[in-house]
């Protein structure tokens, strides 16, 4: 350890309640705030999915109390077709932005990136605080659309123009609902940009002595790569939201074409490009998929290594592959637009890198599987969810091979096949990454252990439940079941209704498992078993070498010095089966990074 007692921390320990718990500058508190926001958002998103699933299985079933959400959207406690779409839009938006982006990246990254790099805090703590609170306001604005005008927007989380840009003449949710949606997402972008600024600078400039880039744990690398993606992707979505808002409130014509007649009214817009929105949105949208999943890759790699008691087959190749995913994610966005009428040559140009991006994905998966082969894995809730992540990522990724090819995608576009694909590969997989991270890092964050039995019950119910929900989606899609339909009245869809009923039951079953998780989380926070020591999993990275919970400046008056690679497990000749990064113990490891 290196004496830091004479050196000032960036900001003193807070004394007031407001500064300590509300407008905190401490990255650890901000990380917890992000986690709490993501948890709240996930619960809202899950309840919305239950309502939708019940409606899809039993369309006339009255859900008690639903009319309280909207008397016009759910008269007699049964969803109207428009309100179904409004809830679906909010489900997608909340889950993609406020859960899948917020929890694995902003929450865990905020808490652990500075600690894993050996920093006292983020370099710009005021920006960090603003990052959370702007994101919080964005969530409030989005939820406010439930109660404003005729409810939230119904355009889907992608908000395709011109539907999203024509205003209230289009029907329920097309007026103030879209403006609130775009305002919320614009604010969210600002929050993430401020966060990315801190993440990148922390990684590059705040590493402790001896912490070379290659000595960073894989989770830190994943957050670093994700922050670079976030910096460039959200900076594009924000101007798109501004233009969308202007089409609504200022009468501009960025996205609405000339002479468009909606509900017998000729709209006053002229010459707008409907495809312009798709270009701007998907330039953000595809990197967003990786913004959601790459942190999970880093987190579960970190957890698997700790539980395998050996490093991955190649630390460097895994990092390079995650970097390749990030770089390629900008070159493939057109595969979301194969049916937009684009030139077939353009389709080919987007199809090719889409197939190429499967190469780094496959390399990552093979490294995981090859490393697991023969490993004596310690089975616990965190490692189980990590294995679940690998399983979901493979299952969801395989269907991506089909969708990458325009000739097949044209048939499967906008069907449940696509919904099943992205739910598995970026939804459930990312959620499993969040769960794995929670079970793994909870002792460090809260000083207590989570209940292991409940954790395993949570895992098996979620694992089985998720497959029961999303595997049949692929079948439905191949059978021609178009997504976004709120009822199945066409002849060819009627035989599929039993499948939908099965999926609904599976969704409710899986939802119950998540309530078990919430109970476990809250109960363990206050009454869980006290963590036996600062390093209950016998990990090697810096978060396990500091106190539990970490002090205000993360390491007290002794800043860490790093001597080793992040994953020195089963080292020959060492006194224990692991050597911490801060241990000055000499080891004989020919594989030490230089």
């Amino acid at each position: 350890m290196h004496d830091m007692s004479a050196h000032a921390v960036q900001h003193g320990a807070p004394t007031s309640f407001i500064r300590k718990h509300v407008f905190s500058l401490d990255h650890k508190v901000i990380g917890k705030q992000y986690y709490a926001l993501a948890l709240l958002a996930a619960l809202v998103g899950m309840v919305l999915s239950w309502i939708m699933r019940i409606h899809l299985g039993w369309g006339s079933f009255a859900i008690p109390g639903l009319h309280l959400l909207s008397s016009t959207g759910a008269p007699g406690n049964v969803l109207t077709p428009e309100y179904y779409l409004q809830l679906m839009t909010m489900h997608g938006t909340i889950m993609v932005f406020f859960v899948l982006t917020t929890a694995p990246f902003a929450a865990f990254g905020n808490f652990f990136l500075p600690i894993q790099t050996g920093a006292e805090d983020m370099p710009f703590p005021h920006f960090n605080m603003m990052s959370f609170w702007v994101t919080f306001v964005a969530f409030v604005v989005l939820v406010a659309s439930f109660f404003a005008g005729d409810g939230p927007t119904l355009g889907g989380w992608t908000q395709y123009a011109p539907l999203s840009a024509i205003g209230s003449v289009g029907g329920p949710g097309e007026g103030i609902g879209v403006v609130l949606w775009a305002s919320s997402i614009g604010l969210f972008c600002i929050g993430q940009l401020l966060g990315a600024l801190n993440f990148i600078t922390t990684t590059l400039d705040m590493r402790c002595r001896g912490m070379s880039l290659m000595r960073l744990p894989l989770s830190a690398w994943a957050w670093f790569i994700t922050s670079i993606m976030g910096l460039t992707a959200f900076a594009v979505l924000m101007p798109a939201c501004i233009l969308l808002i202007l089409d609504h409130i200022a009468g501009t014509s960025f996205f609405v074409a000339s002479n468009l007649v909606i509900n017998d009214q000729v709209l006053p817009h002229s010459g707008g490009s409907t495809l312009l929105w798709q270009h701007l949105f998907w330039f953000f949208g595809h990197p967003e998929v990786y913004i959601a999943i790459v942190p999970g890759m880093g987190i579960i790699s970190h957890i698997l290594i700790t539980n395998m008691r050996k490093p991955m087959l190649s630390h460097r190749v895994l990092i390079y592959s995650m970097g390749a995913l990030a770089a390629l994610s900008y070159m493939v966005y057109g595969h979301h637009m194969f049916v937009s009428g684009m030139n077939p040559v353009s389709s080919l140009a987007f199809s090719f890198p889409t197939l190429v991006i499967t190469i780094p994905s496959t390399i990552i998966v093979l490294i995981w599987l090859g490393s697991l082969y023969g490993a004596k894995l310690r089975i616990n809730s965190a490692s189980l969810f990590s294995l679940g992540f690998v399983s979901m990522f493979i299952s969801g990724g395989v269907s991506g091979f089909f969708l990458a090819q325009p000739s097949i995608d044209i048939m499967l576009h906008a069907t449940y096949f696509v919904v099943g694909h992205f739910h598995l590969v970026m939804g459930v997989a990312a959620m499993f990454g969040i769960f794995a991270g929670t079970y793994f890092w909870f002792p460090k964050m809260a000083g207590r252990m989570m209940n292991e039995t409940l954790g395993r019950v949570h895992f098996w119910m979620s694992f089985v439940g998720a497959y029961c929900i999303f595997m049949p989606f692929h079948y439905l899609g191949i059978a021609g079941n178009v997504r976004r339909y709120q009822a199945f009245t066409d002849d060819y869809l009627i035989p599929l209704i039993p499948v939908h009923k099965f999926i609904t039951i599976a969704a409710l079953f899986t939802g119950v498992a998540q309530l078990i998780f919430v109970y476990n989380l809250i109960h363990s926070r206050f009454k869980g078993e006290i963590a036996p020591n600062d390093n209950p999993w016998e990990g090697t990275s810096l978060e396990w070498s500091t106190a539990t919970p970490p002090p205000h400046n993360n390491f007290g008056d002794k800043m860490p010095v790093v001597y080793h690679d992040p994953y020195q497990y089963s080292v020959e000749g060492a006194s224990t089966d692991y050597v911490m990064q801060t241990s000055p113990e000499k080891i004989n490891s020919p594989k030490e990074e230089k």
Binding site: L197, L213, S273
Partner: protein, 224 residues
């Protein structure tokens, strides 16, 4: 306008080497024998890196606006040519001049902080001049918007006007952030707590705003 600075500002050595922590980099791996004397401290300053990261983000935002302009122009024949308000060219001179004055200021303050200049020299003078030129630029832009509006050309008159307003207002909002940064630098300088890295980062941001404006003017002149 000017402020008298009685004492030379304290030179706050940024994070290194005073704080001693910081990145090792591949050159600085700590040897297993723990002999830290063999380790050289080196790290770029967070403010220095951070400003480039921020500028990258702003670049992406304006690249997105530019792409939108190009796509929208090609999407429909309703694009109308507009004559840019002449005051924009004057504003361009003003913002270029502000970069020059800021650079003079930056060098003087740096010299002043290093104790190379006479204490009587007022290092804040050129910062105030830069601030004034920045405000003059914003006033000039506002004049251009009002002039167009008085001529009946609003945000929704034609999409070319829409882009004109969106791009110029977006730039002006970013420039206001730069003005805030300049005011902060002046405040810190007057309290003798200015860090060199803060001054450098603010300067880079301001110069970037100038370059961005010249690019936008060229884009608007060429496309609108």
């Amino acid at each position: 306008m000017a402020t008298t600075v009685h004492e030379p500002p304290k030179i706050e050595l940024d994070r290194f080497p005073s704080q001693g922590s910081g990145n090792g980099g591949w050159r600085n791996l700590v040897p297993a024998d723990g002999d830290l004397r063999r380790v050289k401290d080196y790290s770029p300053l967070p403010a220095s890196t951070g400003i480039w990261v921020g500028l990258a983000s702003i670049t992406m935002t304006f690249a997105a606006f530019t792409s939108a302009l190009v796509v929208r122009q090609g999407a429909s024949p309703d694009w109308r040519h507009i004559t840019l308000p002449p005051v924009l060219y004057l504003n361009t001179l003003v913002i270029i001049a502000s970069s020059v004055t800021l650079e003079i200021s930056r060098r003087r303050v740096a010299a002043f902080m290093g104790g190379l200049k006479d204490r009587a020299t007022n290092p804040a003078r050129w910062l105030y001049i830069t601030l004034f030129l920045g405000l003059l630029f914003v006033a000039g832009q506002t004049f251009a918007w009002l002039q167009l509006k008085a001529q009946g050309f609003g945000l929704a008159t034609n999409v070319s006007y829409s882009f004109f307003y969106v791009l110029t207002v977006a730039h002006a909002l970013h420039l206001l952030g730069g003005l805030g940064g300049l005011a902060r630098v002046i405040g810190k300088l007057s309290k003798s707590v200015l860090k060199r890295s803060t001054l450098d980062a603010t300067s880079r941001y301001w110069h970037f705003m100038g370059v961005l404006w010249v690019y936008l003017l060229f884009l608007l002149w060429m496309k609108l």
